[in-house]
Structures are given as structure tokens and as C-alpha cells.
Symmetry: C2
């Protein structure tokens, strides 16, 4: 199994991703997520249950009587924020045809957010040709045999 495949199984569905987007942006209430995304209540309830089952979201009671819950990201869920921003940035640049409606994000440094992927070890910007895998090595073995 591939980890991309594994990730897609958990997050590769429109409403699940939009729910995660809302949670990453700090919306924790069911009704707030409904009104920000336009998702139906049934679908959102099902997606939040799946995300909870997958360990990305946890439910927390914030009112006793009547019992009311809000939704929080777990560590695994919170770590998706970078993926969501990279996905959004790619969508902004290559898919959208309505630039006037694009939401602007800013980093604390004041600049318009442009996320860039670096190697955590050496700090360099990652380029497509700078990455090799075990699988490539195994293939060369096969080719050489």
C-alpha cells in the first residue's frame, strides 16, 4: 500500500476536506461549518464521524445541559494544515478562473502567503529532480540484472 493512497482514503473527499479546512481555520461548531461550506447536515455528521474514527478529529462537550459538542483537530488532523494550504495555493494558481474571488492569506511576517516546500534536514527548497526513492534503487537493480 502507498501512503498517498492511504491519505486519499482518509481525506480524499470534498466534504471531508472542506470540514477539515474549517477546523484548521478555527471553526469548531457544527452549525458554523454548515454555514461556511454549504454542506448538508447529514453529510457533515457522517464525515465528522469518519474523521473521528480515523483519529483526525475529536468531539468535546462544551455545554452540559443540553449536551453540546464542538469539534477539535487531533495532532494528526492539525498536521494537515500545510497540505491544505499547499492544495489551496496550487488551486489558486492552476485551477481557478475567478481570481477576483480568491481569498488572500498572509503570514505573520506580513507577506501574502506563498507556501514553499523545503528539506527539513538541509533547508533547501525541494525541486522535483532532487528526490530519489528506494523504489528507484530496486528498479536499477532489476534493470542491471
Amino acid at each position: 500500500m502507498c501512503s498517498i493512497d492511504a491519505a486519499v482514503k482518509v481525506i480524499g473527499e470534498k466534504w471531508a476536506l472542506l470540514a477539515l479546512r474549517e477546523l484548521v481555520m478555527g471553526c469548531t461548531r457544527f452549525d458554523e461549518i454548515v454555514s461556511n461550506t454549504g454542506v448538508s447536515r447529514d453529510i457533515l455528521a457522517a464525515r465528522l464521524r469518519s474523521l473521528e474514527g480515523a483519529g483526525l478529529v475529536r468531539r468535546e462537550k462544551y455545554e452540559e445541559k443540553p449536551a453540546r459538542y464542538e469539534y477539535r483537530l487531533t495532532e494528526a488532523g492539525a498536521q494537515l494544515f500545510g497540505l491544505l494550504h499547499l492544495m489551496r495555493d496550487w488551486g489558486d494558481r492552476y485551477v481557478r478562473d475567478d481570481p477576483e474571488n480568491i481569498v488572500t492569506f498572509r503570514h505573520d511576517c506580513g507577506a501574502k502567503l506563498r507556501p514553499e516546500l523545503h528539506c527539513a534536514a538541509c533547508g533547501e527548497v525541494l525541486e522535483p529532480g532532487s528526490i530519489t526513492s528506494d523504489r528507484d534503487v530496486h528498479r536499477s537493480d532489476i534493470t542491471a540484472a
Copy 2:
């Protein structure tokens, strides 16, 4: 419309993503993608047509008689490599339960690849709490009103 939503429409499907993974890793031939992913030929043909229609993939003839084609990433497609690596890294860490089968990737610097998201403007590592959006500002306006 949201760019995450827009991106998911184009790439949010298991076989489309696995085909993109293969293209990012340098596999350009239809049969090679079939054998590396286990996708059915019908589904792969359909996904490659969609990806071509969306401007992520282009078909190039590499043999005249008989006419044979290979698949190449466009600029928009090639720019997905970071997203795929971040997705893979997240899947490795938070979804997989078979660590012995995880493929290791290395950066050219020699280190095991750990992709990290930085602000392209100031170079700092991006943290969830360090990003604000137009939407937050509009909301504060509404709350303040």
C-alpha cells in the same frame, strides 16, 4: 468557490492521484503505470483523459508506426510534486500501520526526506497559528459591528 474544492475536483480521486504519483516519479508509459499501480486499463485511460482535459498532463507521440504515446506532466501537473510528497509524508506518519513497507525517499543532500513548509517570503517554517486570511478580517468586522 474555494481553491481546495477546485483542487479536489481535479485531483481528489484515488486513481488520478496514483497516476500523477507515477508521472511525478518519472514513469511516462501507460503499461508502466498500469503495472505499478494495479489500475485497470479502462480507468487509467479515463483518468489520463481527464487529467489531459484539466491541463495537468499532455500526450506525446514517441513512435510513428505504430503510433505510440507517452504521458508528460505540464507545468501545472509538475507543480503537484510537493503536494504529493507532503501527502505521502503525512500518510506515512499518521495513517499507515505497516512501517516495514514504507518506501524511503531521500533528498539530494543525503538525508531521509522530510518535507517542511516555509513562508517563501521570510523563510520561516509555517505554523498553524501564523496565518490569517481576508475571511478572518471580514468576520472580525462582522463581529465588531
